[in-house]
Symmetry: C2
Subunit: 218 residues, 2 copies
């Protein structure tokens, strides 16, 4: 029963704040592997088999299939740690480099198998709400990168390098310049995806264009 998921989780090993026991992590990694291979169409039996655990344990730990999926998304999210931007002095060229690095790492994540699989799954489940996979993915993708970027943008503004009124708007523009049509094409299966060199080139172009739009002085 879905509503009992949270309660169920309280027996056995506990699920809290995205923390899972080592054994549970093994299970979730198995789910991840199945998701990469088969998308959304794997069965609970397949998970149990792959993880060498019983279905009953799956249901005890995660409540139901949606709970398992949600836990998997949270587990993967907890694995990805974007580098926190330390506070340093910025000039125009170091800012551009910083932006390009952000763009590069973001494009790299975005075009990764795991990211594509997770986003596809979340999109597919967005309709039948029930579990907010979409929200979780968004929080750990689009919004996470936003939280990292904004301090950099505001630092650069304080340093008089760029100008904008609304940090959110400025970030959304940067986002657009970086991602362009890459994500939607990846999600719709339009191979091949850009490789590392291509990504580096696009990232640098995006940083340059962003500074053209928002740079001041010079």
């Amino acid at each position: 029963m879905a509503v009992a998921a949270a309660a169920q989780a309280s027996q056995g090993e506990r699920i809290e704040g995205g923390e899972f026991s080592p054994r549970q992590r093994e299970v979730l990694d198995a789910v991840l592997a199945l998701m990469l291979a088969e998308g959304d169409s794997f069965s609970m039996a397949a998970v149990a088999s792959k993880a060498s655990c019983s279905k009953e344990t799956l249901y005890n730990w995660f409540g139901d299939r949606d709970g398992l999926l949600a836990a998997t998304v949270r587990w993967q999210a907890s694995k990805v740690r974007l580098p926190s931007p330390e506070r340093t002095d910025l000039d125009r060229s170091s800012l551009e480099a910083r932006l390009a690095d952000f763009a590069e790492s973001w494009l790299t994540v975005l075009t990764g198998e795991v990211s594509i699989a997770l986003n596809s799954l979340a999109v597919a489940h967005a309709k039948s709400a029930k579990s907010p996979l979409g929200k979780t993915v968004l929080d750990n993708g689009r919004f996470a990168i936003g939280r990292r970027m904004k301090p950099v943008l505001e630092m650069a503004r304080e340093a008089g390098l760029i100008g904008f009124d609304d940090t959110e708007e400025a970030f959304r523009t940067f986002f657009g310049l970086v991602v362009r049509d890459v994500q939607i094409r990846a999600l719709l299966g339009d191979w091949p995806l850009p490789g590392p060199q291509q990504i580096r080139r696009e990232a640098e172009a995006a940083a340059r264009q962003f500074l053209t739009l928002y740079g001041v002085g010079e």
Copy 2:
């Protein structure tokens, strides 16, 4: 049997080049309605019931469920007709207006229920290839708008208003400036979507920014 879909379709009313009989269109509209309401999780029985036809007819016409989905996507695609840009003289402000109009209509389509439902469906089915829904959606979305835009961009370049080497790259940048995070947020269920005024504002901003990046002279 999936491989027999094309052959099956040759009996009864014919499916060719995206052309469907009136009765078939009724059926496909019913599918569309169900898709808006339930995403991917409607049954063939539900389609038959909603369209007042028999399941046997569905299978005779469309082969299997995937065939029905593919036909629905093609049918919807054939309904959307982007305005063809007539060849006119352009100056800087009429170009900006034209770009803004493109951006506006594109954002409007993108945030529409039908577009979101179709894209979600195609994303969900992209993994289990079998039927190239993703390709069809891409061809009638991202690439269709590209085909419409490029002549405008090249016209403007000939008129000496903007400069670029690679039309495709220029268009992809425009795409990014227009779409930004709107589509991915829409697909992941991050309501509310921007309304008409908001879209108009974002479209104008995108056109302005594009001209800042690519405009020459002035």
